[in-house]
């Protein structure tokens, strides 16, 4: 446990000032900030919008629509590859592998840091979306804070589903980034798979595509085809499968430099 904590701290330090770190912050804030600017631009609509009972659901859905369909998968592809490849870019695998850390701890720490960054992105996005809905009340006297109760449970559940939908992308990008030294391979493969998933949205068996699930959330489907099988099991299964393969490949690599 002591080693895991030490390794996690070290991995977290590596993200300091890194492109991945800035990407998470920018990615988390971008959509809510754009929507906020839009609201300010059409400020005459704000009083009615904030008074409506569906104000939270309406704006959270709008923000998630842009985020989940495009920005989130792209961001996850980039952040996972950037974090996983920090050792390749700095030529530091050999130093890390001569540190007194078990390989399993190194693997687990890297994956945990990626998931933590993803979680941080979610938190920022939610806070910024909350701000997007409530901030106009601070600037305009005729605008009130939304009176409708905040749908805390629904929002948490929505976030959990999107988080789960992202896990196959994290796991597969992690696998590619550990396997290939060339940064373009995981990025290219990731974007390619994402585009393939978009094309496969209307395909009967589209649910088998591992990068499709965040878009699937918006299609109104919750089951696979005509079955009663909840499709959210698939990202969980894919994540476990890809992580397992990735761990075996990492562990059995003959050259750890």
């Amino acid at each position: 446990m002591k080693l895991l904590t030490a390794s996690l701290q070290a991995e977290w330090m590596k993200t300091k000032r890194s492109a991945a770190w800035w990407l998470v912050i920018t990615g988390g804030l971008l959509i809510p900030v754009i929507l906020l600017i839009g609201r300010f631009y059409n400020h005459e609509l704000i009083p009615a919008e904030n008074a409506a009972p569906i104000v939270w659901t309406k704006f959270y859905s709008r923000a998630w629509n842009y985020m989940g369909n495009l920005l989130l998968p792209m961001g996850v592809i980039l952040v996972t590859s950037l974090v996983a490849q920090v050792e390749v870019r700095n030529n530091t695998w050999k130093q890390l592998h001569t540190a007194p850390l078990p390989y399993s701890i190194i693997f687990l720490s890297k994956l945990t840091v990626i998931l933590s960054l993803l979680l941080l992105g979610f938190v920022l996005f939610n806070l910024a979306t909350f701000g997007m809905i409530t901030l106009p009340a601070v600037f305009y006297q005729d605008v009130f804070f939304p009176k409708a109760p905040f749908p805390f449970k629904g929002m948490l559940l929505g976030n959990a589903k999107f988080f789960l939908d992202m896990l196959p992308i994290v796991a597969f990008q992690f696998l590619l980034s550990l396997q290939f030294r060339n940064f373009l391979i995981p990025i290219g493969a990731g974007f390619g798979l994402y585009v393939a998933s978009m094309i496969g949205m209307n395909w009967k068996y589209g649910y088998i595509l591992p990068y499709i699930y965040s878009s699937y959330e918006f299609s109104g489907k919750s089951t696979i085809g005509a079955t009663q099988f909840n499709f959210h099991w698939l990202p969980a299964i894919y994540c476990l499968l890809f992580t397992g393969i990735s761990y075996i490949i990492y562990l059995t690599k003959a050259d750890k430099t």
């Binding site: 030490a6 001569t98 540190a99 007194p100």
Partner: protein, 302 residues
């Protein structure tokens, strides 16, 4: 008792290509062991195997009396290394790089300032490593290797790419680390002059085989034993017969007699006796063997 030993270490990248063949490294405790060899001889591969960076195919590695296969973590806890180029997170500062490894090694945080001071990098402040010179990065890599106060330091060509003053600084630093802290250093290089100035022991590798191991004086002695003595006399045939009668192996090449190199006193005695036999000596020549020549001979023999 050796601090680091390998037994029968062999390695192949492909089936038909043997990179290392039965390497038996023996690094005495407290020594600076210079691992010498031309480029591509197998130095880096050996050091990677010793550190567990390459999966071992054949042989054993023992460090601090422990087997690398069974005690990897406890061995690495007491070993510092720098393999090929410096391994640093270039977007971080020198202190941040060290802080990161301080967490991993769980050593005293005061060591960070100490190793920065030792390597002359305490003034770097908020400067990121990406803006450091190669020499500074090389010194920081040494600082990382020294951070946890290791017993053994493994350095693969640490002076590569350094200018002459950087090489001198590095040499002084390593010498002081060895003398003042008692750290055993295994350092590889393809530069004989570099190793000669620094190392107490040496191992010479060529084409994947260890062709010599010992101190520099042992190296010179070994080479001298293989050297020859050249005589030109007024009567080579009579001189050859005379020497053979005294059980000295003599060959003749045109007008020159070739004898194995003998002690100076023995050479003087033979000279006197040949003169007594009425054989004039025109030339007695024992070529001087420089360390460089010895090194080249070993490399070329192999």
């Amino acid at each position: 008792m050796y601090l680091l030993e390998t037994e029968g270490l062999s390695y192949q990248f492909r089936k038909e290509e043997t990179v290392l063949n039965n390497i038996q490294l023996q690094v005495p405790e407290g020594s600076i062991y210079g691992f010498l060899g031309p480029n591509g001889a197998g130095k880096t591969t050996t050091l990677k195997l010793v550190l567990g960076l390459l999966r071992k195919q054949k042989g054993r590695v023992r460090i601090f009396g422990k087997d690398l296969d069974f005690d990897r973590l406890s061995i690495l806890q007491q070993t510092g290394s720098l393999i090929e180029s410096p391994s640093l997170y270039l977007h971080l500062t020198a202190r941040e790089n060290l802080l990161l490894y301080q967490r991993i090694y769980q050593c005293n945080p005061n060591r960070i300032s100490y190793v920065l001071e030792l390597t002359g990098l305490s003034h770097t402040g908020n400067k990121r490593c990406s803006s450091f010179s190669l020499g500074m990065n090389q010194r920081l890599a040494i600082a990382v290797a020294l951070l946890h106060n290791p017993r053994l330091l493994i350095l693969d060509e640490p002076t590569n790419g350094l200018d002459p003053s950087g090489i001198i600084e590095m040499r002084e630093l390593l010498r002081s680390i060895n003398r003042n802290m008692g750290i055993t250093i295994l350092i590889s290089s393809h530069l004989l002059s570099e190793i000669e100035k620094l190392a107490t022991h040496t191992g010479i590798i060529n084409n994947g085989s260890l062709v010599f191991q010992g101190t520099f004086s042992q190296l010179m002695q070994q080479q001298q034993a293989a050297c020859s003595l050249f005589y030109k006399t007024s009567d080579n045939l009579a001189a050859q017969t005379f020497l053979r009668q005294r059980n000295i192996v003599v060959d003749m090449d045109q007008d020159t007699l070739i004898l194995p190199l003998l002690p100076r006193e023995e050479i003087a005695r033979i000279n006197r006796e040949l003169m007594k036999e009425g054989i004039d000596l025109f030339q007695v020549h024992a070529p001087e063997t420089s360390l460089e020549q010895t090194f080249m001979n070993l490399i070329n023999q192999n």
